[in-house]
Protein backbone atom coordinates (compact mmCIF):
# COMPACT_ATOMS: atom_id res chain seq x y z
CA UNK A 1 0.00 0.00 0.00
CA UNK A 2 2.92 2.35 0.57
CA UNK A 3 3.49 2.39 -3.14
CA UNK A 4 6.04 5.05 -4.02
CA UNK A 5 4.29 5.46 -7.38
CA UNK A 6 0.98 6.32 -5.79
CA UNK A 7 0.13 10.03 -5.77
CA UNK A 8 0.58 11.93 -2.55
CA UNK A 9 -2.44 13.20 -0.65
CA UNK A 10 -1.76 16.74 -1.79
CA UNK A 11 -1.79 15.73 -5.44
CA UNK A 12 -5.05 13.91 -4.89
CA UNK A 13 -6.56 17.03 -3.38
CA UNK A 14 -5.55 19.03 -6.44
CA UNK A 15 -7.12 16.38 -8.69
CA UNK A 16 -10.27 16.57 -6.57
CA UNK A 17 -10.54 20.22 -7.39
CA UNK A 18 -10.48 19.24 -11.06
CA UNK A 19 -13.38 16.86 -10.63
CA UNK A 20 -11.36 13.65 -10.76
CA UNK A 21 -13.63 11.03 -9.24
CA UNK A 22 -10.93 8.38 -9.16
CA UNK A 23 -8.85 10.67 -6.94
CA UNK A 24 -11.71 10.78 -4.45
CA UNK A 25 -11.87 7.00 -4.49
CA UNK A 26 -8.16 6.71 -3.74
CA UNK A 27 -8.46 9.26 -0.96
CA UNK A 28 -11.39 7.33 0.40
CA UNK A 29 -9.58 4.00 0.30
CA UNK A 30 -6.66 5.55 2.15
CA UNK A 31 -8.43 7.53 4.83
CA UNK A 32 -11.81 5.98 5.47
CA UNK A 33 -10.44 3.11 7.57
CA UNK A 34 -8.76 5.26 10.20
CA UNK A 35 -11.51 7.86 10.07
CA UNK A 36 -14.06 5.16 10.75
CA UNK A 37 -12.08 3.83 13.69
CA UNK A 38 -11.52 7.26 15.15
CA UNK A 39 -15.13 8.35 14.77
CA UNK A 40 -16.35 5.07 16.22
CA UNK A 41 -14.34 5.80 19.36
CA UNK A 42 -16.39 8.93 19.87
CA UNK A 43 -19.79 7.55 19.02
CA UNK A 44 -21.04 4.03 19.49
CA UNK A 45 -23.96 4.40 17.07
CA UNK A 46 -22.55 2.60 14.03
CA UNK A 47 -25.26 3.87 11.75
CA UNK A 48 -24.48 7.44 12.65
CA UNK A 49 -20.76 6.85 12.19
CA UNK A 50 -21.38 5.46 8.68
CA UNK A 51 -23.51 8.45 7.80
CA UNK A 52 -20.87 10.83 9.09
CA UNK A 53 -18.21 9.03 7.06
CA UNK A 54 -20.37 9.37 3.97
CA UNK A 55 -21.02 13.07 4.56
CA UNK A 56 -17.35 13.69 5.23
CA UNK A 57 -16.25 12.54 1.82
CA UNK A 58 -19.18 14.14 0.00
CA UNK A 59 -18.21 17.40 1.63
CA UNK A 60 -14.54 16.80 0.87
CA UNK A 61 -15.51 16.50 -2.77
CA UNK A 62 -17.67 19.57 -2.78
CA UNK A 63 -15.36 21.78 -0.70
CA UNK A 64 -12.05 20.49 -2.05
CA UNK A 65 -10.98 24.02 -2.82
CA UNK A 66 -11.16 24.96 0.84
CA UNK A 67 -8.09 22.83 1.57
CA UNK A 68 -5.35 25.42 1.63
CA UNK A 69 -2.44 23.09 0.99
CA UNK A 70 -1.00 23.57 4.45
CA UNK A 71 -1.05 20.81 6.98
CA UNK A 72 -1.89 17.18 6.50
CA UNK A 73 -4.84 16.24 4.37
CA UNK A 74 -5.66 13.77 7.13
CA UNK A 75 -6.09 16.63 9.58
CA UNK A 76 -8.31 18.50 7.13
CA UNK A 77 -10.49 15.42 6.66
CA UNK A 78 -10.70 14.88 10.39
CA UNK A 79 -11.79 18.49 10.87
CA UNK A 80 -14.69 17.88 8.50
CA UNK A 81 -15.53 14.53 10.02
CA UNK A 82 -15.60 15.53 13.67
CA UNK A 83 -17.74 18.56 12.94
CA UNK A 84 -20.20 16.43 10.95
CA UNK A 85 -20.34 14.11 13.95
CA UNK A 86 -21.04 16.95 16.35
CA UNK A 87 -23.74 18.16 13.97
CA UNK A 88 -25.43 14.78 14.06
CA UNK A 89 -25.11 14.52 17.80
CA UNK A 90 -26.64 17.94 18.22
CA UNK A 91 -29.61 16.92 16.12
CA UNK A 92 -30.31 13.63 17.80
CA UNK A 93 -30.59 14.26 21.50
CA UNK A 94 -30.80 12.26 23.72
CA UNK A 95 -27.28 11.47 22.88
CA UNK A 96 -26.18 7.90 22.40
CA UNK A 97 -22.52 8.19 22.69
CA UNK A 98 -19.80 7.37 25.02
CA UNK A 99 -16.95 9.74 25.56
CA UNK A 100 -14.18 7.31 24.90
CA UNK A 101 -13.65 3.64 25.28
CA UNK A 102 -12.19 3.26 28.59
CA UNK A 103 -11.95 0.39 30.90
CA UNK A 104 -12.21 2.95 33.64
CA UNK A 105 -8.68 2.44 34.76
CA UNK A 106 -5.81 4.68 34.32
CA UNK A 107 -3.49 3.59 31.60
CA UNK A 108 -1.40 0.47 32.16
CA UNK A 109 2.35 0.81 32.42
CA UNK A 110 2.68 -0.35 28.81
CA UNK A 111 0.25 2.25 27.59
CA UNK A 112 2.04 4.88 29.57
CA UNK A 113 5.27 3.91 27.91
CA UNK A 114 3.72 4.03 24.45
CA UNK A 115 2.03 7.32 25.14
CA UNK A 116 5.30 8.55 26.42
CA UNK A 117 7.05 7.78 23.13
CA UNK A 118 4.51 9.74 21.12
CA UNK A 119 4.00 12.68 23.41
CA UNK A 120 7.23 12.75 25.27
CA UNK A 121 6.80 13.40 28.94
CA UNK A 122 3.28 14.57 28.41
CA UNK A 123 2.22 11.14 27.31
CA UNK A 124 2.92 9.43 30.59
CA UNK A 125 1.09 12.11 32.48
CA UNK A 126 -1.83 11.80 30.14
CA UNK A 127 -2.04 8.13 30.82
CA UNK A 128 -2.33 8.82 34.52
CA UNK A 129 -5.29 11.14 34.13
CA UNK A 130 -8.75 9.92 34.96
CA UNK A 131 -10.95 8.97 31.98
CA UNK A 132 -13.18 12.06 32.20
CA UNK A 133 -10.24 14.42 32.23
CA UNK A 134 -8.53 12.56 29.44
CA UNK A 135 -11.70 12.72 27.31
CA UNK A 136 -11.77 16.48 27.61
CA UNK A 137 -8.08 16.76 26.76
CA UNK A 138 -8.61 14.48 23.77
CA UNK A 139 -11.51 16.54 22.50
CA UNK A 140 -9.87 19.93 22.85
CA UNK A 141 -6.22 19.15 22.23
CA UNK A 142 -6.24 16.13 19.91
CA UNK A 143 -9.47 16.77 18.04
CA UNK A 144 -9.03 20.52 18.03
CA UNK A 145 -12.55 21.32 19.18
CA UNK A 146 -13.78 24.49 20.82
CA UNK A 147 -15.20 24.31 24.32
CA UNK A 148 -18.70 24.38 22.91
CA UNK A 149 -18.02 21.66 20.36
CA UNK A 150 -16.40 19.51 23.04
CA UNK A 151 -19.41 19.93 25.30
CA UNK A 152 -21.74 18.85 22.48
CA UNK A 153 -19.66 15.84 21.62
CA UNK A 154 -19.21 14.66 25.19
CA UNK A 155 -22.69 15.54 26.28
CA UNK A 156 -21.58 17.64 29.23
CA UNK A 157 -22.16 21.31 29.93
CA UNK A 158 -19.54 23.82 28.75
CA UNK A 159 -18.85 24.78 32.35
CA UNK A 160 -17.87 21.20 33.11
CA UNK A 161 -15.59 21.13 30.07
CA UNK A 162 -13.79 24.22 31.29
CA UNK A 163 -13.47 22.92 34.83
CA UNK A 164 -12.13 19.59 33.71
CA UNK A 165 -9.66 21.25 31.36
CA UNK A 166 -8.42 23.35 34.25
CA UNK A 167 -8.03 20.31 36.46
CA UNK A 168 -6.30 18.39 33.69
CA UNK A 169 -3.88 21.24 33.09
CA UNK A 170 -3.16 21.47 36.82
CA UNK A 171 -2.58 17.76 37.07
CA UNK A 172 -0.29 17.71 34.03
CA UNK A 173 1.66 20.71 35.30
CA UNK A 174 2.17 18.98 38.63
CA UNK A 175 3.38 15.85 36.89
CA UNK A 176 5.73 17.61 34.59
CA UNK A 177 7.13 20.02 37.12
Amino acid sequence: MTNPEAPADRELMAALGDGDRDALRTLYDRHSPWLLARLARRCNDRGMVDEVLQETFVQAWRKASSYDGRGEVAAWLWGIGIRRLIDHVRRTRPVQLRATIDRGEEGSVEEQVLAGVEFGDLGGALARLSPELRAVVQATVLDGLTTREASELLGIPTGTVKTRMMRARMRLREELA
Binding site: S32, P33, W61, T100, G107, E111, L126, L142
Partner: protein, 271 residues
Amino acid sequence: MSWHAADAALDTYSRGDCGGAQAVSIEAHLMNCHECRCRVARLADRPHLDEVWRKIAGELDAPVPGLVERGLLRVGVSDHVARLLAATPSLRLSWFLAVGVALAFAVAAAHADPRGILLFLVGAPMIPLAGVAAAYGPRVDPTFEIGLAAPMRSFRLLLIRSAAVLVSSATFAAIAAFFLPDLNVAVVAWLLPSLALSSSSLALSTRMPPLAAAATIGVVWVVAVGLIAFEARDAIVPFGAPMQLASLVVAGASMWTLSHTRESFEQKGAA
Protein backbone atom coordinates in the same frame (compact mmCIF):
# COMPACT_ATOMS: atom_id res chain seq x y z
CA MET B 1 9.29 9.07 11.67
CA SER B 2 11.18 7.03 14.16
CA TRP B 3 8.35 5.42 15.98
CA HIS B 4 5.56 3.40 14.39
CA ALA B 5 2.78 1.69 16.18
CA ALA B 6 2.96 -2.09 16.29
CA ASP B 7 0.62 -4.03 14.03
CA ALA B 8 -1.03 -5.62 17.04
CA ALA B 9 -1.70 -2.23 18.56
CA LEU B 10 -3.16 -0.94 15.31
CA ASP B 11 -5.29 -4.04 15.08
CA THR B 12 -6.81 -3.55 18.52
CA TYR B 13 -7.29 0.09 17.71
CA SER B 14 -9.14 -0.63 14.45
CA ARG B 15 -11.40 -3.04 16.19
CA GLY B 16 -12.17 -0.45 18.80
CA ASP B 17 -10.77 -2.44 21.68
CA CYS B 18 -8.00 -0.05 22.49
CA GLY B 19 -7.54 1.55 25.89
CA GLY B 20 -7.87 5.30 26.31
CA ALA B 21 -4.31 6.54 26.58
CA GLN B 22 -2.91 4.24 23.95
CA ALA B 23 -5.70 5.21 21.57
CA VAL B 24 -4.95 8.90 22.04
CA SER B 25 -1.35 8.15 21.23
CA ILE B 26 -2.18 6.15 18.14
CA GLU B 27 -4.62 8.76 16.90
CA ALA B 28 -2.09 11.53 17.27
CA HIS B 29 0.41 9.41 15.40
CA LEU B 30 -1.97 8.51 12.59
CA MET B 31 -2.53 12.17 11.85
CA ASN B 32 1.02 12.41 10.65
CA CYS B 33 2.00 8.96 9.45
CA HIS B 34 0.96 7.85 5.98
CA GLU B 35 2.50 4.44 6.42
CA CYS B 36 0.58 3.59 9.55
CA ARG B 37 -2.63 4.84 7.99
CA CYS B 38 -2.01 2.41 5.17
CA ARG B 39 -1.53 -0.34 7.68
CA VAL B 40 -4.84 0.47 9.29
CA ALA B 41 -6.38 0.42 5.81
CA ARG B 42 -5.09 -3.09 5.29
CA LEU B 43 -6.93 -4.23 8.41
CA ALA B 44 -10.17 -2.62 7.36
CA ASP B 45 -13.55 -4.24 6.67
CA ARG B 46 -13.49 -3.72 2.90
CA PRO B 47 -17.04 -4.82 2.02
CA HIS B 48 -18.49 -2.46 4.58
CA LEU B 49 -16.37 0.44 3.35
CA ASP B 50 -17.28 -0.39 -0.26
CA GLU B 51 -20.92 -0.16 0.69
CA VAL B 52 -20.44 3.28 2.18
CA TRP B 53 -18.48 4.29 -0.92
CA ARG B 54 -21.39 3.30 -3.10
CA LYS B 55 -23.59 5.67 -1.12
CA ILE B 56 -21.05 8.44 -1.54
CA ALA B 57 -20.79 7.92 -5.29
CA GLY B 58 -24.56 7.67 -5.49
CA GLU B 59 -24.94 10.97 -3.71
CA LEU B 60 -22.43 12.69 -5.96
CA ASP B 61 -24.07 11.41 -9.12
CA ALA B 62 -27.57 11.86 -7.84
CA PRO B 63 -29.81 13.76 -10.17
CA VAL B 64 -30.07 17.45 -9.43
CA PRO B 65 -33.72 18.48 -9.60
CA GLY B 66 -34.57 21.19 -12.09
CA LEU B 67 -36.92 24.08 -11.48
CA VAL B 68 -40.14 22.21 -12.10
CA GLU B 69 -39.05 19.25 -10.02
CA ARG B 70 -38.04 21.50 -7.14
CA GLY B 71 -41.46 23.10 -7.31
CA LEU B 72 -43.08 19.69 -7.11
CA LEU B 73 -40.98 18.72 -4.12
CA ARG B 74 -41.89 21.96 -2.44
CA VAL B 75 -45.59 21.17 -2.66
CA GLY B 76 -45.01 17.84 -1.00
CA VAL B 77 -44.71 15.42 -3.90
CA SER B 78 -42.50 12.50 -2.91
CA ASP B 79 -39.12 12.48 -4.58
CA HIS B 80 -39.60 9.39 -6.74
CA VAL B 81 -42.93 10.64 -8.10
CA ALA B 82 -41.34 14.02 -8.75
CA ARG B 83 -38.62 12.27 -10.77
CA LEU B 84 -41.22 10.46 -12.87
CA LEU B 85 -43.04 13.71 -13.50
CA ALA B 86 -39.90 15.68 -14.29
CA ALA B 87 -39.28 13.48 -17.31
CA THR B 88 -42.67 14.33 -18.83
CA PRO B 89 -42.42 16.51 -21.93
CA SER B 90 -45.58 18.44 -21.09
CA LEU B 91 -44.31 19.30 -17.62
CA ARG B 92 -41.19 21.04 -18.81
CA LEU B 93 -40.42 24.71 -18.63
CA SER B 94 -40.44 24.97 -22.41
CA TRP B 95 -43.93 23.55 -22.54
CA PHE B 96 -45.16 25.94 -19.85
CA LEU B 97 -43.70 28.83 -21.80
CA ALA B 98 -45.55 27.77 -24.94
CA VAL B 99 -48.77 27.40 -22.96
CA GLY B 100 -48.28 30.86 -21.48
CA VAL B 101 -47.85 32.36 -24.92
CA ALA B 102 -50.93 30.60 -26.29
CA LEU B 103 -53.08 31.75 -23.38
CA ALA B 104 -51.77 35.29 -23.64
CA PHE B 105 -52.72 35.27 -27.30
CA ALA B 106 -56.21 34.01 -26.49
CA VAL B 107 -56.70 36.67 -23.80
CA ALA B 108 -55.54 39.34 -26.24
CA ALA B 109 -58.06 38.07 -28.79
CA ALA B 110 -60.80 38.37 -26.18
CA HIS B 111 -59.87 41.99 -25.56
CA ALA B 112 -59.72 42.76 -29.28
CA ASP B 113 -63.16 41.47 -30.18
CA PRO B 114 -66.25 40.53 -28.14
CA ARG B 115 -66.44 37.17 -29.87
CA GLY B 116 -62.75 36.69 -29.19
CA ILE B 117 -63.65 35.13 -25.85
CA LEU B 118 -64.68 32.08 -27.82
CA LEU B 119 -61.07 31.54 -28.77
CA PHE B 120 -60.15 31.40 -25.12
CA LEU B 121 -62.98 29.10 -24.14
CA VAL B 122 -62.32 26.71 -27.01
CA GLY B 123 -58.55 26.86 -26.67
CA ALA B 124 -58.14 26.54 -22.90
CA PRO B 125 -59.53 22.97 -22.67
CA MET B 126 -57.34 21.92 -25.59
CA ILE B 127 -54.21 22.72 -23.66
CA PRO B 128 -54.54 19.88 -21.15
CA LEU B 129 -55.73 17.69 -24.03
CA ALA B 130 -52.46 18.26 -25.82
CA GLY B 131 -50.57 18.02 -22.58
CA VAL B 132 -52.01 14.64 -21.71
CA ALA B 133 -51.29 13.34 -25.20
CA ALA B 134 -47.71 14.51 -24.81
CA ALA B 135 -47.34 12.93 -21.39
CA TYR B 136 -47.53 9.28 -22.24
CA GLY B 137 -47.08 6.79 -25.05
CA PRO B 138 -44.39 5.32 -27.28
CA ARG B 139 -44.02 8.45 -29.34
CA VAL B 140 -43.21 10.76 -26.47
CA ASP B 141 -41.76 8.47 -23.84
CA PRO B 142 -38.36 7.01 -24.80
CA THR B 143 -38.53 4.45 -22.03
CA PHE B 144 -41.98 3.22 -23.00
CA GLU B 145 -40.98 -0.39 -23.72
CA ILE B 146 -38.82 -0.66 -20.63
CA GLY B 147 -41.68 0.87 -18.67
CA LEU B 148 -44.12 -1.75 -19.89
CA ALA B 149 -41.76 -4.52 -18.84
CA ALA B 150 -41.26 -2.96 -15.42
CA PRO B 151 -43.41 -3.86 -12.40
CA MET B 152 -44.79 -0.38 -11.90
CA ARG B 153 -48.25 -0.20 -13.37
CA SER B 154 -48.19 1.86 -16.54
CA PHE B 155 -51.74 2.98 -15.86
CA ARG B 156 -50.60 4.48 -12.60
CA LEU B 157 -47.83 6.37 -14.36
CA LEU B 158 -50.35 7.60 -16.90
CA LEU B 159 -52.69 8.82 -14.16
CA ILE B 160 -49.96 10.58 -12.20
CA ARG B 161 -48.75 12.39 -15.29
CA SER B 162 -52.21 13.26 -16.59
CA ALA B 163 -53.25 14.59 -13.21
CA ALA B 164 -50.15 16.75 -13.01
CA VAL B 165 -50.73 18.06 -16.53
CA LEU B 166 -54.36 18.84 -15.77
CA VAL B 167 -53.55 20.65 -12.56
CA SER B 168 -50.78 22.70 -14.14
CA SER B 169 -52.84 23.55 -17.23
CA ALA B 170 -55.81 24.51 -15.12
CA THR B 171 -53.64 26.75 -12.96
CA PHE B 172 -52.25 28.55 -15.98
CA ALA B 173 -55.67 28.93 -17.56
CA ALA B 174 -57.16 30.19 -14.31
CA ILE B 175 -54.48 32.85 -14.03
CA ALA B 176 -55.00 33.86 -17.64
CA ALA B 177 -58.79 33.94 -17.15
CA PHE B 178 -58.48 36.74 -14.64
CA PHE B 179 -57.12 38.94 -17.40
CA LEU B 180 -60.23 38.51 -19.53
CA PRO B 181 -62.20 41.68 -20.28
CA ASP B 182 -65.37 40.58 -18.44
CA LEU B 183 -65.07 38.54 -15.31
CA ASN B 184 -68.15 36.52 -15.87
CA VAL B 185 -68.76 32.82 -16.03
CA ALA B 186 -66.07 32.60 -18.72
CA VAL B 187 -63.54 32.54 -15.94
CA VAL B 188 -64.43 28.95 -15.07
CA ALA B 189 -66.49 27.76 -18.02
CA TRP B 190 -63.48 26.03 -19.54
CA LEU B 191 -62.72 23.87 -16.50
CA LEU B 192 -65.20 21.03 -16.90
CA PRO B 193 -64.65 20.82 -20.66
CA SER B 194 -60.91 20.51 -19.90
CA LEU B 195 -61.62 17.51 -17.75
CA ALA B 196 -63.96 16.05 -20.35
CA LEU B 197 -61.52 16.41 -23.23
CA SER B 198 -58.56 14.98 -21.37
CA SER B 199 -60.35 12.02 -19.89
CA SER B 200 -62.13 11.11 -23.12
CA SER B 201 -58.83 11.26 -24.98
CA LEU B 202 -57.29 8.88 -22.47
CA ALA B 203 -60.26 6.54 -22.72
CA LEU B 204 -60.02 6.60 -26.51
CA SER B 205 -56.30 5.84 -26.39
CA THR B 206 -57.14 2.26 -25.48
CA ARG B 207 -58.42 1.90 -29.03
CA MET B 208 -55.91 4.02 -30.93
CA PRO B 209 -52.52 5.63 -30.38
CA PRO B 210 -52.64 8.47 -27.81
CA LEU B 211 -51.74 11.19 -30.29
CA ALA B 212 -54.45 10.08 -32.71
CA ALA B 213 -56.96 9.89 -29.88
CA ALA B 214 -56.15 13.43 -28.79
CA ALA B 215 -56.37 14.73 -32.33
CA THR B 216 -59.76 13.06 -32.81
CA ILE B 217 -61.18 14.49 -29.60
CA GLY B 218 -59.75 17.90 -30.49
CA VAL B 219 -61.40 17.92 -33.89
CA VAL B 220 -64.74 16.74 -32.48
CA TRP B 221 -64.57 19.49 -29.86
CA VAL B 222 -63.80 22.31 -32.27
CA VAL B 223 -66.46 21.17 -34.72
CA ALA B 224 -69.08 20.74 -32.00
CA VAL B 225 -68.45 24.14 -30.43
CA GLY B 226 -68.22 25.71 -33.88
CA LEU B 227 -71.64 24.39 -34.82
CA ILE B 228 -73.25 25.56 -31.59
CA ALA B 229 -71.58 28.96 -31.70
CA PHE B 230 -72.68 29.46 -35.26
CA GLU B 231 -76.29 29.28 -34.13
CA ALA B 232 -75.89 31.28 -30.95
CA ARG B 233 -76.12 35.01 -30.41
CA ASP B 234 -73.09 35.59 -28.26
CA ALA B 235 -69.96 33.69 -27.51
CA ILE B 236 -70.75 32.59 -23.99
CA VAL B 237 -73.94 30.73 -24.77
CA PRO B 238 -72.24 27.56 -26.04
CA PHE B 239 -70.59 27.29 -22.66
CA GLY B 240 -73.67 27.54 -20.54
CA ALA B 241 -75.25 24.94 -18.30
CA PRO B 242 -75.97 22.33 -21.00
CA MET B 243 -72.32 22.31 -22.05
CA GLN B 244 -71.15 22.02 -18.46
CA LEU B 245 -73.51 19.16 -17.83
CA ALA B 246 -72.48 17.42 -21.01
CA SER B 247 -68.83 17.83 -20.01
CA LEU B 248 -69.52 16.30 -16.65
CA VAL B 249 -71.25 13.34 -18.24
CA VAL B 250 -68.48 12.79 -20.76
CA ALA B 251 -65.83 13.06 -18.05
CA GLY B 252 -67.69 10.60 -15.85
CA ALA B 253 -68.23 8.11 -18.65
CA SER B 254 -64.59 8.35 -19.70
CA MET B 255 -63.33 7.74 -16.21
CA TRP B 256 -65.63 4.79 -15.85
CA THR B 257 -64.33 3.38 -19.15
CA LEU B 258 -60.75 3.96 -18.07
CA SER B 259 -61.18 2.13 -14.82
CA HIS B 260 -62.60 -0.83 -16.67
CA THR B 261 -60.00 -0.93 -19.43
CA ARG B 262 -56.95 -0.05 -17.41
CA GLU B 263 -55.37 -3.47 -17.96
CA SER B 264 -54.92 -2.64 -21.61
CA PHE B 265 -52.30 -0.07 -20.70
CA GLU B 266 -50.10 -2.73 -19.20
CA GLN B 267 -49.28 -4.53 -22.41
CA LYS B 268 -49.32 -4.02 -26.12
CA GLY B 269 -51.69 -6.08 -28.14
CA ALA B 270 -53.93 -6.72 -25.17
CA ALA B 271 -57.65 -6.49 -25.87
